[in-house]
């Protein structure tokens, strides 16, 4: 039992919607913490606005509030629940900031709530730049020469003293929002101003840059007895200058002598002690490789992305232990969960090498600068484990799903020498591949080209030579394969350093049969080893495996019936945490049904890769070879692909060809749903309308399609994730630009051209068992068709779709499901133009809305889907068939964007998905739910001020005018771009006409409250409208880029003006009203 017996109830704050810098790692940490609390018999109350999380699932916490993470909501909930303690260290920066706010406002004191784990004092000392600086000076820890500034003048004085470059870091922000390195006065003014704006307290830190030094991190834990351990030390491949979230990170530390390692470890321990943190903490250092001098860069007094990585890398569940410590335990009282026998008060030792590789969204954000700096841009990450660094690196690259299985990027290999050097200097997301190419050139020229020697590359990049040697070893193997082909010895070495079969075949030119023959004859297959925290010193009870090419196989295969779930890989735009939710739910359902559940995945941030989740975890790339190796080893009764999003679904064909049993919807059905031609024919046969469309493979066919369909058109490539490269085009020019620039058009990759149906978009998720279906509910999008479903707000139950249309949706869904032969989950998006319903898209898999619908209706969708795959019938379940009963409340899902991180990305919504996360708001009425929803996304609902409006011509309708009138009637003043102003005046309202400069000035002076801007084109960086959208967004104004959003926002304003108070209830209370 915990030391502290007085604690009966604890409140935990989640991290809210996923944004860059604050992602799935907090679902992992929060879920662990909830479990750790409940294990102690303490009641756990959770507040989190993010519905896609496992932590908000029934059964994780005792009570779940899916409510906005605002002070008001928290205060109300604290008043209702009267918890004894508050855990703030598991909800990222959001949780910490909120806890600080509640402390400052006296809420915690008023209700007698104690902050557990991380105290207010510790948070302030670690986060407030000035206090941190003083504390470090007091304990003698070196920090960079720096100054705290709140004005530009202070910044100028500082650079006058230390010179450029300087790093700008705003206080109290996520993932380094608004930070950067300034090399001159121009950059300084931009970054300093943005930083002060982004800081919650208008404060920035300016520090002398140590770019080029080694970046080293330690994950440290401390308990109330002052016992301290370091769980894991990590080293960045990229030297200081690239945000650690955007760096390739290696664990354990590779290039430090023990002396240096201990010097930094000692410092990390001194720091956590001085901050008096009870729990986990992350300390980042910069180390000068030429002198071993170091400085402390940053401290995070909480669990973080790095702690999630360290937990997975070392097999040590930091969040779980941090929660136990917060409850009063000391480390020596706790057990090592991996061995089950030995003490938790030790330091994990690794007998493998771990590489984390970031996953960036640049495939979606084509206008975004790919240059990396102090502001994080990655949406997710992969981790790979192996016995050599080279192999871990290559596995991580394969895991990224960027079309690479090695270090050869043809585009980079085709660059001229100067171009290549410039590319390396640019320091973008592809730098490691450019480094590999430079190594190749160095080798090809036998070291005679001074620009490509290892020393030259080191000078250029400051990447430690040890890493460069490793990249060079990979390059050397490329050459060996190309020059000598394969034999047993070469194959074994290539495998040991991580080459995939495809890469070996491509380089050696050997036929696949030869590779297979050598492999079989010489028994060159991967073996599986256990991640056990102790280097094999003690027996481990956790089944956490990775593959490698070594001698002994430790895999213990049971004779039980078992099912393999293929995960969803790294978090990216369009494939987020919701699929991890489905995988985890799937694992639990499989166990529940009496099977052994095995998961394969590579995302270190998630709950699915917690070794506690499944019966067996394989930390692997989701490449067909790796999945097949696991299947070969485990021989599962079946494989589930429909929970891991498009990543796992894309394996269906390859697995089917190898006669692997895919549970649920068969490959043929998946193929049928994804083949436009065949699917259209099927719908036609069923008499269900679909927007007329064509699949084209060349320009001539495209012109023909235009002739038949007419504009406007929706164009997109086949097999899409998150509407990648989808666009609505209105003219030949736009179409041709799309076909020639946006996509590669060829026979292998057809482009789909459909008529654009303007109307309401409706989304249906269903569970099918082969005979019947169950639809938990229907969601109606607030924004019209053309806005990607991931970026639309949507409401359950539908509030404008007539009953008869809803009945028709159910009937269509049922017929499609049956005709396709779907078993398990299915998601269909429909367009309703006021008269007809059209099928826009069918996904024979889990979808983004599965966790939401599961939570708001209580229907355990994934559990039912797994049951259906294994022969259970919906008709026999308590949930029945057909459309499930409607809930007596309104639930609104709204997207959340990481606009603050990607400063050169358009904030306007369209067919291409941009949001990184979402919130769910539930309330008694649609109006109140909408109001709550906007608040939960982080917006302040204004009740006065100006509205700036700029609309594309197409939108200037009478209906739109009514919405604008709503703003005017609510007391807002109107101003607009010249064309739009004329239109507004034509509709009898007063409206000022203004130019970009006027708008920016109005924003600066605080006169503007809302920007409504529906652009004709997006992503054109030099357009005024793009600039206005960014300017307003960066200053925290609501920027509404679809007229339907503006209408919904008006509803929120109305609710606020009417003084309607939001209610805050647990999910259970909402659903139990019925």
């Amino acid at each position: 039992m915990p030391k502290d017996h007085s604690l009966k109830k604890v409140l935990m704050i989640g991290s809210g919607p996923i944004i860059i810098g604050q992602a799935a790692e907090f679902d992992y940490a929060g879920t662990q913490a909830c479990k750790a609390i409940r294990e102690e018999g303490i009641e756990c109350v959770l507040v989190n606005s993010n519905p896609a999380t496992i932590m908000t699932d029934p059964g994780i916490a005792d009570k779940v509030y899916i409510e906005p993470l605002t002070e008001e909501a928290l205060e109300t909930i604290i008043g209702r629940e009267r918890p004894g303690g508050l855990l703030a260290g598991f909800g990222g920066q959001t949780g910490l900031n909120l806890a600080m706010e509640l402390e400052r406002k006296g809420v915690l004191e008023r209700y007698g709530v104690r902050l557990l784990g991380v105290k207010e004092e510790s948070i302030r000392r670690a986060e407030d730049r000035d206090e941190f600086k003083q504390l470090m000076q007091a304990i003698g820890e070196p920090i960079p020469d720096s100054v705290i500034a709140t004005t530009l003048g202070e910044c100028e004085d500082f650079v006058g003293r230390v010179g450029y470059p300087v790093i700008i870091r705003p206080a109290y922000t996520l993932g380094g929002t608004g930070g950067g390195i300034a090399a001159d006065y121009g950059e300084l003014t931009i970054l300093a101003e943005r930083g002060m704006e982004n800081s919650a307290i208008g404060q920035i830190l300016l520090e002398k840059s140590v770019a080029g030094w080694k970046e080293i991190e330690y994950e440290v834990m401390r308990d109330a007895k002052d016992n301290c351990i370091t769980v894991c030390g990590m080293e960045n491949f990229d030297p200081v200058g690239v945000h650690t979230g955007d760096s390739i990170v290696v664990a354990p530390i590779q290039t430090l002598r023990d002396y240096e390692y201990q010097m930094l470890r000692d410092a990390a321990l001194r720091i956590i002690r001085s901050l008096e943190i009870e729990g986990g903490c992350n300390v980042q250092f910069a180390l000068d490789p030429d002198t071993s001098e170091y400085i402390v860069i940053e401290v995070n007094p909480r669990v973080s992305r790095s702690s999630a990585l360290a937990s997975k890398a070392a097999g040590y569940p930091i969040a779980k232990l941090a929660a136990k410590i917060a409850l009063g335990y000391s480390l020596d009282e706790l057990k090592n969960y991996v061995t089950g026998e030995t003490s938790a008060c030790f330091e994990p030792t690794l007998d493998y090498c771990v590489v984390k590789f970031p996953k960036w969204p640049f495939d979606k954000f084509k206008t975004a600068s790919r240059k990396l700096g102090t502001q994080m841009k990655a949406t997710g990450e992969v981790m790979a484990i192996s016995r050599t660094f080279e192999s871990a690196l290559l596995k991580s690259i394969t895991s990224l799903e960027i079309g690479l299985e090695g270090m050869r990027v043809p585009r980079i290999m085709g660059m001229g020498d100067d171009e290549l050097i410039e590319k390396i200097k640019l320091r973008d997301d592809e730098r490691i591949f450019a480094i590999a190419e430079a190594m190749r050139r160095g080798r090809a020229r036998s070291g005679e080209d001074e620009r490509f020697t290892r020393d030259a590359i080191h000078e250029l990049t400051k990447v430690d030579r040890w890493f460069l040697y490793k990249v060079d070893r990979i390059v050397k193997m490329e050459n060996t394969l190309a020059e000598r082909g394969i034999d047993a010895e070469i194959l074994r070495e290539a495998e040991e350093i991580g080459f995939t079969d495809n890469e070996i075949l491509a380089l050696s030119g050997a036929p696949r049969e030869v590779l297979t023959d050598i492999r079989v004859y010489h028994d060159i297959f991967p073996v599986y080893k256990v991640v056990d925290t102790c280097g094999g010193e003690f027996e481990a009870v956790t089944p956490y495996y990775y593959s490698c090419f070594d001698e002994e196989d430790e895999g213990r295969v049971t004779n039980s019936r078992k099912i393999l779930v293929v995960g969803s890989g790294p978090i990216r735009i369009g494939q987020g945490i919701e699929f991890d939710y489905c995988c985890v739910q799937g694992v639990w359902a499989i166990k529940d049904l009496g099977y052994e559940a095995i998961i394969i995945n590579n995302n270190p941030e998630t709950v699915s890769t917690d070794f506690d989740t499944s019966d067996k975890l394989y930390f692997e790339a989701l490449h067909i070879d790796d999945v097949m190796n696991v299947i070969k080893k485990e021989r599962p009764d079946g494989v589930i692909l429909q929970f891991g999003g498009q990543t796992s679904l894309n394996l269906a064909e390859d697995l089917n060809r190898r006669s692997i049993r895919i549970l649920g919807t068969s490959f043929d059905s998946i193929d049928l749903a994804e083949d436009r031609q065949k699917f259209s024919e099927l719908l036609e046969g069923l008499g269900i309308p679909t927007p007329p469309g064509r699949s084209v493979t060349d320009i001539a066919q495209a012109r023909e399609a235009v002739g038949a369909l007419g504009y406007p058109l929706v164009v997109r490539p086949s097999y899409v994730i998150g509407g990648r490269s989808m666009q609505v085009v209105y003219s030949d020019d736009e179409l041709m630009e799309y076909l020639t620039e946006a996509v590669s058009l060829d026979a292998e990759r057809p482009v789909l051209i459909d008529r654009y149906i303007e109307g309401k978009e409706v989304e249906v998720d269903a569970i099918a068992d082969g005979d019947d279906i169950l639809i938990p509910g229907i969601m109606e999008h607030i924004e019209r068709t053309g806005v990607h479903s991931g970026d639309s707000s949507s409401v359950y139950p539908p509030h404008t779709i007539p009953e008869d249309v809803q009945r028709k949706l159910v009937s269509y869904t049922s017929r499609i499901t049956k005709a396709l032969g779907v078993v398990g989950l299915l998601n269909i998006q429909y367009a309703y133009d006021g008269r007809d319903i059209f099928v826009i898209e069918v996904n024979p898999r889990a979808s983004r809305t599965v966790p939401i619908m599961s939570k708001v209706t209580g229907v355990p969708m994934v559990r039912l889907a797994v049951g259906a795959m294994l022969g259970e019938k919906l008709a026999d379940s308590a949930w029945g068939t057909g459309l499930y009963r409607k809930m007596p409340f309104s639930a609104v899902k709204m997207p959340v964007f990481s606009n603050a991180k990607l400063t050169d990305v358009d904030t306007a919504v369209g067919p291409e998905m941009k949001s990184t996360g979402e919130i769910l708001a539930i309330d008694e009425t649609y109006e109140k739910a909408v109001n709550k929803g906007f608040i939960a996304t982080g917006l302040t609902i204004p009740t006065e001020g100006g509205v700036y409006i700029s609309l594309r011509e197409h939108e200037r309708t009478a209906a739109t005018a009514d919405i604008i009138r709503g703003y005017a009637d609510a007391g807002f003043s109107l101003c607009a771009s010249p064309g739009t102003a004329a239109y507004i005046r034509d509709h009898g309202m007063g409206c000022e006409s203004c130019a970009r400069a006027d708008v920016e000035r109005a924003i600066d002076e605080g006169r503007l409250a809302v920007v409504i801007n529906v652009p004709r084109e997006m992503n054109i960086v030099d357009r005024d409208s793009f600039a206005i959208r960014r300017y307003a967004t960066e200053r925290g104004l609501p920027v509404l880029t679809c007229i339907d959003t503006a209408e919904a926002f008006l509803i929120a304003i109305g609710a606020k003006l009417a003084g309607r108070k939001a209610v805050y209830r647990t999910l259970e209370e909402y659903t139990a009203v019925h």
């Binding site: 023990d258 030995t342 994990p348 102790c534 280097g535 027996e539």
Partner: protein
């Protein structure tokens, strides 16, 4: 050249050779430290042993002129999964392989070191042959069978200094170190605190030691079975009550034996830099560096007036003790780190503190 690790039960691990082209017989042990291979190899306590590193990537930062814990490599062989032939560190003066070659010590890499670790975990530390010169398993078996006198357990008699060595004096106290195979960082632990150190060779008598009028006696770490350190045990026993006494590792075991206690061999010992040790008196725990095959039997020391002060959090074995009345204490682990954490450095201060009540401040020797 082909590398081979061969065990008495016929188990063979084949890899590649590095370092010196040679063959040795020794006791196969594993070490779980992820850093500090240079300090490990030069730790005299490893004399007679072949070290299998659990961390697979070794040699990354080469070999420096400042990280050795003694004048040479004492281990009889070195085993690693992968090795860096191209190290990177400002202090590196040569590669690990070059250094082992210079030191005449064979290494084997490209073997499944985790499998070897698990073998030791299951069977206990075992004699082995390590060869980097391509010998056959048959040759290895013959070597092992005839290795009776090679597999000694009294290396502490020759691991340390041959003559008395005086380390530059500070203005602090004078410490007599009985050298069973001392690590440099232990000596540094005293000299850094201003102490003057006299290092005494194995076999030194109580009279030899008292001749320099030390403020305290320190018994060092060292290789082998502590029971074989008879001369050391005798000397320690004779000085009980005459000097404050402190010991680390084998020194700790020798003190236990001097007080009539017993030691026993652990199945596979503790070798690593990550062991949690709890101080029973303060209730606090620390992460420690360890390297020992033997442990002190806690019950056996009670009669001699000793009490257990520290325990290992993993297996509960004795990690420290002190005398109930006399100024005598010792620890099984290595507060001097090198490699490993410096969390327990304060033990040196604790020992030095003991000199004061005797009324002999360091100034007496200045």
């Amino acid at each position: 050249m082909e590398g081979l690790i061969y065990l008495g039960d016929g188990t063979a691990y084949r890899g590649k050779g590095f370092g010196s082209v040679a063959t040795n017989v020794g006791e196969l042990v594993f070490n779980t430290s992820m850093t500090g291979y240079q300090g490990i190899l030069t730790d005299p306590s490893y004399m007679g042993q072949v070290i299998n590193m659990t961390y697979p990537l070794i040699g990354n930062y080469g070999v420096s002129e400042i990280d050795s814990q003694s004048g040479r490599v004492h281990a009889f062989g070195f085993v690693t999964r992968d090795i860096s032939f191209r190290p990177s560190n400002r202090c590196s003066v040569m590669t690990l392989s070059e250094w082992l070659k210079e030191q005449g010590v064979p290494g084997v890499y490209n073997v499944d070191t985790r499998a070897i670790t698990k073998k030791i975990r299951t069977d206990g530390t075992v004699p082995c042959v390590i060869s980097s010169e391509g010998i056959t398993e048959g040759d290895a078996r013959l070597l092992l069978e005839g290795a009776g006198d090679i597999l000694r357990d009294d290396y502490m008699t020759e691991a340390g200094t041959n003559e008395v060595v005086k380390f530059p004096s500070g203005d602090g106290a004078r410490v007599a170190v009985y050298d069973l195979g001392v690590k440099r960082n232990i000596i540094r632990g005293f000299t850094d605190r201003g102490c003057e150190v006299f290092l005494f060779p194995y076999g030194s008598t109580p009279e030899d030691i008292m001749k320099v009028s030390p403020d305290g006696l320190f018994l060092s770490n060292g290789p082998g079975n502590p029971e074989m350190a008879e001369a050391g045990i005798e000397t320690a026993r004779a000085l009980i009550g005459k000097l404050p006494i402190c010991g680390i590792c084998m020194g700790h075991q020798v003190i236990a034996l001097a007080f009539g206690g017993r030691t026993y061999k652990l199945k596979f010992g503790h070798r690593g830099a990550n062991h949690g040790v709890k101080d029973l008196e303060s209730g606090r725990s620390a992460i420690t560096s360890q390297n020992h095959s033997f442990a002190v039997d806690p019950e056996s020391i009670e009669a001699g007036g000793l009490a257990v002060t520290h325990v290992n959090l993993n297996d509960g074995t004795v990690e420290g003790m002190r005398h109930r009345e006399l100024p005598v204490f010792s620890v099984q682990y290595h507060p001097e780190g090198s490699p490993g954490p410096n969390d327990s450095e304060g033990l040196f201060d604790r020992f030095i503190e003991m000199f004061r009540p005797a009324g002999k401040g360091g100034a007496a020797h200045a």
